[in-house]
Amino acid sequence: MIELLSPAELKRLLEIGQLSLTVQNDDPEITKIVEDAAMGMGLPIALVSIVTDGAQFFFEQKGLGGWIEETRGTPVEWSFCQHVVSSEAPFAVENAETNELVNSSPLISNDGIRCYLGVPIRSKSGAVLGSLCVIGTETREFKDDEVKQLETFSSRLTELIEKRRAQVA
């Protein structure tokens, strides 16, 4: 028996569609935010990851290579960003190998992810569409002011993403 998605989850997915977040970003301001996030945290990878029912889609990315750059996403069960969406809160992973929420992800064993910090990307209505995140291949701690810095970037993303609603409509 297939379990239907909840009305709230359907509304969230509908917003992703309405904001046209399933196609690659073409806004240079959003590209700049992602680049600044990676540089600000001193980490090689930053993503705007849109989390859907079965996958995470990288609406914008900095620093990915290999197959994952080509696919622009992964199955959702491998993603760290799913936990940002489900908790609607920042999610920090200082050592991915020992974090019980993510340590079964093959992105750790095969692709070397070791640290992660993601914050919610919200629509104007408050729905969490995905995560703005930074990723590294070494373990590291994240400070409160770094979480705040990423949240500031994410608030700006909300403004830019909402502009798309008018353009798409």
Binding site: E3, L4, L5, D53, G54, T71, G73, P75, P106, N110
Partner: protein
């Protein structure tokens, strides 16, 4: 099974995704419509390979709304399976 433990996408997994979003009856209608648009004969629809599923996902993407969002997920899953399979063949 590849080293990522990812199963190949199937017609059934596609239909399950649609049914989760649209509900059983409507999900089946959307599946049939996408197959028709992708020019997949109905008698072959239950056993599609990755390339055919990708064509169905593209047809789904063009429908708009929730179908487009489901299509995005399915395309990522197909392309991931294809990419890691190719990478393992090279090794």
């Amino acid at each position: 099974m590849n080293k990522y433990g990812l199963n190949p996408p199937t017609s059934q997994s596609f239909q399950d995704s649609l049914n989760r979003v649209f509900g059983g009856g409507e999900g089946e209608k959307v599946w049939a419509k996408a197959c028709l648009r992708a020019k997949i004969p109905s008698h072959k629809a239950d056993n599609l390979d990755c390339d055919q599923l990708l064509e169905v996902a593209c047809a789904l993407e063009a429908m708009g709304g929730l179908a487009t969002v489901v299509a995005c997920s399915l395309k990522v899953r197909i392309n991931t399976f294809k990419a890691i399979t190719v990478a393992e063949e090279v090794l």
